[in-house]
Symmetry: C2
Subunit: 472 residues, 2 copies
């Protein structure tokens, strides 16, 4: 009996010591993580790299549409800048991308009676064909989104210009949800209208504010035979409101559109990749990225110069802080997110071909605004671990960790690596769609601190995944 008690006591003692050691180790590692994350934020907020790279990308290079001279300049520039970081590997990954050109400035007006015209701020949608050289003039039929079009007979649409005028829903707090809802009229509206016999399409800009900027963005003709394709353009939200009022007064109002945009087949471009090799698990790859291409109207500051320089910034921070990751960390500037996603698809294809092991990927493609948290696509067990990290981000007000999320460019990895974690940085979304795909997506609308907080948040998350790995 006595011996039994002693044994029991010993067990209790051992368990006690073991637990104490466990809790001590845990507490120590939480403290270590807190300290490392603080170092990351302090360094990021005092460093100019990301902001200076973005200034160059936007002000010295400008809009970087796939296949353009500027896109190739951006490839060369980011490649050189990554080289200067003394990484373990820097690479230009070849990828064929579509080349679409806008041509001379578009021109549009509406005409309430012959000779009485009002000019309208307009831009061709990406991928759209040109109008005939002299333009198209036709009566307008206004609809609210794709469902509005579906209610019309072919007879009602035939020979007309369809005007998609569904506003983004101001009630949705996360503006990306409103973009998702109203966006289909831009991506699929022109093809749908063409099938009903429309001669052209104009779309209300996907912008939550009322202003004079037309917002471009891709439209897809899908499997519509090429000879049925019709030109499609976006008009500013102010113009959309005005045109809608005018149509109520005079349904016979005509709209004139002239544009010379053109699809020019595919050309060679590149993803740009910089890598720090892992010291313990070099075969486990963590990808961070943004897309290097942008629309041509502005200079791609928020969309997505910010995501590129933040991804490069994570590697720069690790180098500056002397942090040697255990796993391989790769920053990827993807090409052609806007009108093809060819960069993301090629990156995934090459990963599979080389038998790489991808465990986690993080994309920043929602603007360079104050970060609020991350969205994650992860298994339940992975999620428990990830969620437990959110408190480490509370001091920085970036602790909104939610399930669901990722990014367009890292998406093509997912089917090949079903157990990998995908994540997207979630910045404050209120201002994003004022600038998105428009001429005012420019450097002066970037706040250095907001950009740097995003870089620091990304680096901190990557640090945690690097330290603790991704549960298989």
């Amino acid at each position: 009996m006595k011996r039994h008690i002693v044994t029991q006591l010993r067990s209790v003692l051992i368990i006690g010591i073991a637990s104490a050691a466990f809790y001590y180790a845990q507490a120590q590692s939480v403290e270590q993580d807190q300290r490392m994350i603080e170092r990351i934020f302090v360094q990021s907020l005092s460093d100019d790299s990301a902001y200076d790279w973005l200034r160059y990308l936007t002000q010295n290079i400008g809009g970087r549409l796939s296949g353009s001279v500027q896109a190739e300049q951006a490839v060369a520039y980011t490649y050189e800048q990554l080289k200067s970081l003394k990484l373990d590997r820097v690479e230009k990954q070849p990828v064929m991308v579509p080349k679409w050109v806008r041509g001379p400035k578009e021109y549009a007006y509406f005409e309430t009676e012959p000779g009485k015209t009002t000019n309208v701020p307009v831009c061709a949608l990406g991928g759209s064909i040109a109008t005939p050289g002299l333009g198209i003039k036709a009566e307008v039929i206004e609809v609210k989104g794709l469902s509005g079009l579906a209610e019309l007979s072919d007879e009602q649409v035939k020979g007309k210009i369809v005007f998609f005028n569904e506003p983004m829903d101001p009630k949705l707090i996360e503006t990306f949800s409103a973009y998702g809802k109203a966006g289909s009229q831009r991506t699929s509206g022109p093809a749908a209208a063409a099938r009903k016999g429309a001669v052209a399409v104009i779309v209300r800009s996907l912008n939550l504010a009322l202003d004079d900027y037309p917002h471009t963005g891709v439209t897809q003709y899908g499997d519509l035979p090429k000879k049925q394709w019709i030109p499609a353009a976006a008009i500013s939200t102010n113009a959309a409101e005005l045109l809608s009022s005018v149509l109520q007064l005079n349904p016979k109002t005509k709209f004139y559109l002239k544009q010379a945009s053109e699809n020019r087949g595919e050309v060679l471009s590149h993803n740009v990749i910089g890598e720090i090799k892992g010291s313990e698990f070099p075969d486990e790859i963590i990808t961070i990225g943004g897309h290097l291409d942008s629309w041509d109207l502005g200079s791609g500051a928020h969309d997505d110069g910010a995501g590129c320089v933040q991804s490069m910034g994570v590697l720069a921070l690790f180098q500056q802080l002397g942090y040697q990751p255990k796993r391989t960390i790769r920053a990827v500037m993807f090409m052609n997110e806007e009108n093809g996603l060819k960069g993301g698809m090629e990156y995934a294809a090459q990963a599979v071909k080389k038998g790489e092991k991808h465990v986690m990927a993080l994309e920043s493609d929602a603007g360079g605004f104050t970060p609020r948290g991350f969205g994650f696509t992860a298994q339940d067990t992975q999620w428990a671990q990830i969620k437990s990290w959110s408190s480490l981000f509370e001091p920085y007000l970036i602790d909104s960790f939610k399930r669901g999320g990722g990014g367009a460019d890292i998406g093509p990895l997912a089917p090949h690596y079903p157990k990998m974690v995908l994540a997207g940085l979630k910045p404050d979304s209120q201002r994003y769609f004022i600038h998105h795909h428009a001429a005012n997506d420019t450097f002066e609308h970037i706040n250095k601190r907001e950009l740097d907080l995003g870089t620091a948040a990304m680096a901190s998350l990557i640090y945690l995944f690097d330290q603790y790995g991704v549960q298989p």
Copy 2:
């Protein structure tokens, strides 16, 4: 025995029913609150009132320094707008305020050698006296904040222009903390330098960004005899960096400052008050407010036109939604927050004089940016209740509820009502100090959605305090 069991059973049943009823009532009220708050946000995001008021205040009236014509125009305008809301009571509350005028544009340069000058963006600090008509030219001694000055002997300072050049600390995530740290060199630096024999003071603008805007703000001579007062001005952050470099190369560099600012005694102005009378507890007063006065360089959009129109907006939302508060809700546009706080002090003095019962006050004076939450000054028991409401704000990403907070204008109520709750709206603070007290605090830097989210957050919080009262 059997009877006992029945009694027991009955008790269990009664308790069960009572608990069920209690939980049902609770669940119902949570659902009711969720619904009401959703209605508030939907209404606010679809309404233009606050944004339109702010456009008028900033673009039609402009900067509204206490005692200026514009400040009086703002009093008249907000009074009329509150009248148009059909409230129960609208009042102009008289208050004497200091009148300080900037005079003609200030002028400054530094001179590395005779005749070799570089112009510097400069503005007089609020309350500062003028230089002599021909200006002041003297050697410069640079110090880091008040502690830097304290290290110098009077001999080192005598006859010189003291250059306070402590930057705001970029490492602090909440930028108001950095403002608090570096701010004392502006408010107290000139008086401290005067005591050591300085002839003038220039202060690095309290701005986290490097740019060319000088930022004004109040300075206080305190009990320094008037004949010892010296002129004080702010220079832009870029100029401060440049001057600091130049002084390292040539410590004999001279600085020239000319300004004609002037204190002109006190004049009559007003707080503007609009009130909805409570239906059940009309004597319990809840105050919401911002300050109507602003510095003169910009047009007081973020500081604090935003807080005024948000406060008016709360009353407008309640009216639009047909919400009849149980308690009396008052929106107050305080006068003279920037250079005297006379409006806040008079409001408190009148409250005490009239024997009013103030239970809660909320101020918005931290910019019209995306709201992140609130700070509260409250007793422990009150805090438990308040904290429990934060989850209602999660869907709107405004759930950072922290202890500590209030506002300058509502502060004077506190000593008289020790049990009242004070709260301050906490918007995202990253961009605020780029605009604060500078010429670029203008309407185009306000985002309508961000402003409206703040109004909705305030209205939702006030709704909860109105429904559940404030624990005594």
